[in-house]
C-alpha cells in the first residue's frame, strides 16, 4: 500500500527548488511572527521584572519631567533634580507607607567605559533601609557596607565584571577622583542594578556637595493598599512629584504599542504573501499534473481523495515551513533582541524576546490552519478535474 501522504510528499520533491522557495516563504513569515509575538510578551515581562525589582511602587522626586525621572531610575542618566532629606519624615508618617528609602542618584562620566566613554551610575543609598526594600538582592561576594559615611562600595554584577573588581579591591570614581573600597558584589539580577555601583548616602552627598539632599525616595506600600489617595496626599508636599511605577509601565507600554502595531502589520503582510505563495505553488502543480490527476480518477480516486491528496501537500509545506520558522526564531532570538534594542526608545534590561512553548504551539497551530485554508481552493479545483478532460489533454481552466 502506498499512502496519500507518500504520494503527496514525493510530489513535492519533484520540483525541489519550487517547493523549497515556498517553504522558505512560509518559514520566514513564521519566523517573523514568532519573533514578534515573542517580543510582545517578552518586552512586557522584562519591563515588569525591572519594575518589580525596584522594590518600591512609588517614588517621590523633585519636580521636573516625570518621564525623565522615570527613565533615569530605570536607565541611569543626567539632569537630576534635588530635594531636601527632611521631606522623608512627612512621607514616612502616611499610614499607607510600609517602608521608605532615600537615594541620591549621581552620574559621572567615565572615559574608560565603552569605546568613547560612558555614564557610570553611582547610587548613594542608606544600606539598612535600601537592603530591606530589596531583600531579593543577593551577594556573590561580601555584603552591604554598614556606615553611611564610609568610602565603601557595593558593585552590581556587570559593573564588577567590567571593572574586573573583587571584594577588597579599590575603585576610583571618575571626575571626582575619590577611591572606594569594594565590600560587596551582587549576583546577576537581569535588571539595571547589574550595572550600578552603590555607595553610602552621606559620602555621596559630601562628594557631590549636596548636603542633606537626595534625588529620590522609594516608597514601599503596605500590602493591598490603593496608591491613589497616598499619591494625592504626597502631591500636597512642596516641589515634589510622585512617580507611580505602574504609571511608568503604562506609559512605556503605550509607547511600545505603536511599535507593536507596526511589527504585527509587517508580520501579517509576510503571512499573506506566504499564503499567496502556497496557493500559487500548489495550483501550478495541480495544472501541471492535470492528466495525472485525471488518471488517478480513472483508477478509482473520488474527488474527495484528490482533494485530500492536494490538501496534504499544502499542509506538509506549511507545517515544515512553520517548524523551520520556529527553529529560526529560537536560534536567532538573541539577534532579534539586539535589533529591537537598537530601534526602541526604551528597552528593559531583561530578554526582550520571550518564546515559550505556548507561543510555539499557537504559532504552529495557526500556520497549519492557514495551510489548510490556503489548500482548499487548489484542492477543490483538483478534485473537480474530470478524467475525460484529462485524457483528451484539455486543460479546462
Amino acid at each position: 500500500m502506498i499512502t496519500k501522504f507518500q504520494i503527496a510528499y514525493k510530489n513535492l520533491l519533484r520540483k525541489r527548488v519550487r517547493s523549497l522557495l515556498t517553504l522558505m516563504g512560509i518559514a520566514v513569515s513564521a519566523w517573523v511572527l514568532v519573533s514578534l509575538l515573542g517580543f510582545n510578551q517578552g518586552y512586557e515581562t522584562s519591563l515588569n521584572k525591572d519594575i518589580d525589582n525596584m522594590g518600591f511602587q512609588l517614588m517621590v522626586m523633585a519636580k521636573g519631567c516625570p518621564y525623565e525621572a522615570a527613565t533615569m531610575m530605570l536607565k541611569g542618566g543626567t539632569g537630576l533634580k534635588y530635594m531636601d532629606e527632611s521631606i522623608m519624615k512627612d512621607v514616612a508618617k502616611e499610614p499607607e507607607v510600609e517602608k521608605i528609602t532615600p537615594i541620591l542618584m549621581s552620574a559621572v562620566f567615565d572615559a574608560n567605559k565603552g569605546e568613547s566613554g560612558g555614564i557610570a551610575g553611582y547610587f548613594g543609598v542608606e544600606p539598612k533601609s535600601f537592603a530591606e526594600m530589596k531583600p531579593f538582592l543577593k551577594f556573590r561576594q561580601g555584603g552591604w557596607f554598614t556606615d553611611t559615611n564610609s568610602y565603601e562600595a557595593v558593585m552590581g554584577y556587570e559593573a564588577a565584571e567590567l571593572e574586573q573588581r573583587e571584594v577588597g579591591d579599590e575603585i576610583l570614581m571618575p571626575e571626582k577622583n575619590v577611591k572606594f573600597k569594594v565590600v560587596g558584589i551582587l549576583n546577576r539580577t537581569g535588571t539595571q542594578d547589574d550595572g550600578t555601583i552603590f555607595v553610602p548616602l552621606k559620602t555621596t552627598q559630601k562628594i557631590f556637595n549636596r548636603p542633606n539632599e537626595i534625588t529620590t525616595i522609594g516608597i514601599k506600600l503596605k500590602k493591598g493598599v490603593n496608591s491613589a489617595p497616598l499619591e494625592e496626599k504626597l502631591y500636597q508636599l512642596p516641589d515634589v512629584q510622585i512617580v507611580s511605577l505602574a504609571q511608568v509601565k503604562d506609559t512605556i507600554m503605550k509607547l511600545i504599542s505603536t511599535a507593536q502595531v507596526m511589527v504585527l502589520s509587517i508580520a501579517t503582510i509576510a503571512i499573506l504573501i506566504a499564503i499567496v505563495g502556497v496557493i500559487n505553488t500548489i495550483l501550478t502543480s495541480v495544472w501541471e499534473r492535470f492528466q495525472e490527476i485525471g488518471i488517478l480518477k480513472t483508477v478509482g480516486a473520488m474527488p474527495w481523495d484528490i482533494f485530500k491528496l492536494i490538501w496534504i501537500e499544502t499542509v506538509i509545506l506549511c507545517t515544515t515551513g512553520g517548524v523551520i520558522g520556529v527553529i529560526l526564531a529560537l536560534i536567532l532570538s538573541r539577534i532579534t533582541d539586539m535589533v529591537m534594542r537598537a530601534v526602541l526608545p526604551y528597552a528593559p534590561s531583561g530578554g526582550l524576546v520571550l518564546i515559550d512553548f505556548k507561543l510555539i504551539l499557537i504559532t504552529l497551530v495557526g500556520i497549519v490552519c492557514i495551510g489548510l485554508l490556503s489548500g482548499i481552493y487548489p484542492a477543490w479545483r483538483a478534485g473537480r478535474i474530470r478524467p475525460l478532460e484529462a485524457i483528451r489533454g484539455e486543460a479546462a481552466r
Partner: protein
C-alpha cells in the same frame, strides 16, 4: 445467450458535439453486445469516433442518447444520466483503462505506480495481484525503477498492471500501442491476449493497425460515427501462432 454472459450492451448509443452552430455526431446510434471474456478490436480512420465510443462504453462520458447496460444493469438510458460520483464507482468496480500515453506518476516507482489504485479503492482478495501482474507482464525486475528509467513498452506494461490491479472485468484500451514501435506493439497486444485468455478479461481495444486488430476475437470498423462488425481476416496465422506460443 443468457443474460449474465453479456458483459456490455449498447443500444443506439449516440454522442453529438456542438461546435458553434454546427452539430457533429461523433457516435451515431451504435448498438453492440459484448460477451464476457471476449477480445474486441475497433479500427477506423482518424476522426471516425472510436475514442468517443470507447469513452461512452467505459462510462467516462455521458451519451447524448441511447442506452448502456453493464452485466444487465442499466447505466445510461431514457434520459438517465449518472453523477460523476456514481460514474467513478462504476468505473472502479468494472473497468481498467489504458491509453496511448501511459500517464505514469514519474515520482513513484514501477511498483508504487501499480499499487496506486489501491490507495483509493481496493477490491477484496487483491493482495498479491500486483506481484502476480508484474510477473505475468515480465516487468518484475523493474519494480523499483522509476518510469523515466524504463522503455516505452515497459511503461505500457506498467500502465496495464495498474489498470489490472483491482481485477476489472473489462479493459478498455484506446490505441495502447500508439506510442510504440512495431515490435513493442506486437508484444503489448500479445500480453493483452494472454490476460484475455488467462484471466477471462473482456478487452475492447482501439487501434489503427489492421495487423494488431486481428489478434481479437471480433473486429469492428468505425466510419463516420457508425459501427459495423467485420470478419476477422482469414489466414490469421499470427493470432493462432501467438496465442499458442503464449498460452
Amino acid at each position: 445467450m443468457s443474460e449474465n454472459l453479456i458483459s456490455m450492451e449498447a443500444k443506439n448509443l449516440t454522442k453529438a458535439y456542438r461546435r458553434g452552430a454546427e452539430e457533429i455526431t461523433a457516435v451515431n446510434s451504435v448498438s453492440l453486445e459484448i460477451n464476457k471474456g471476449e477480445f474486441v478490436s475497433i479500427i477506423g480512420p482518424s476522426g471516425s469516433g472510436k475514442t468517443t465510443l470507447v469513452n461512452l462504453l467505459g462510462c467516462l462520458d455521458n451519451p447524448t442518447a441511447g442506452e448502456l447496460y453493464l452485466g444487465g444493469r442499466s447505466i445510461f438510458g431514457k434520459g438517465k444520466r449518472l453523477s460523476e460520483r456514481d460514474l467513478t464507482k462504476i468505473r472502479r468496480e468494472t473497468f481498467g483503462y489504458i491509453f496511448q500515453n501511459f500517464y505514469l506518476i514519474p515520482t513513484l516507482t514501477v511498483m508504487e505506480n501499480v499499487i496506486l489504485p489501491l490507495t483509493f479503492y481496493r477490491k477484496p482478495n487483491t493482495e498479491h495481484e500486483a506481484e502476480k501482474l508484474l510477473n505475468l507482464l515480465g516487468i518484475e525486475h523493474r519494480k523499483d525503477h522509476l518510469p523515466g528509467q524504463i522503455s516505452g513498452g515497459e511503461m505500457q506494461r506498467v500502465a496495464i498492471a495498474r489498470a489490472m490491479v483491482n481485477m476489472p472485468e473489462i479493459l478498455l484500451a484506446d490505441e495502447p500501442t500508439g506510442n510504440l514501435d512495431t515490435k513493442r506493439s506486437v508484444e503489448i497486444v500479445e500480453v493483452l491476449r494472454v490476460l484475455n485468455r488467462n484471466v477471462g478479461l473482456t478487452i475492447i481495444m482501439v487501434t489503427h493497425n489492421q495487423e494488431l486488430a486481428r489478434y481479437a476475437d471480433r473486429m469492428f470498423e468505425m466510419k463516420d460515427g457508425q459501427l459495423c462488425e467485420i470478419e476477422v481476416p482469414t489466414g490469421n496465422t499470427v493470432t493462432r501462432a501467438a496465442s499458442q506460443r503464449l498460452s
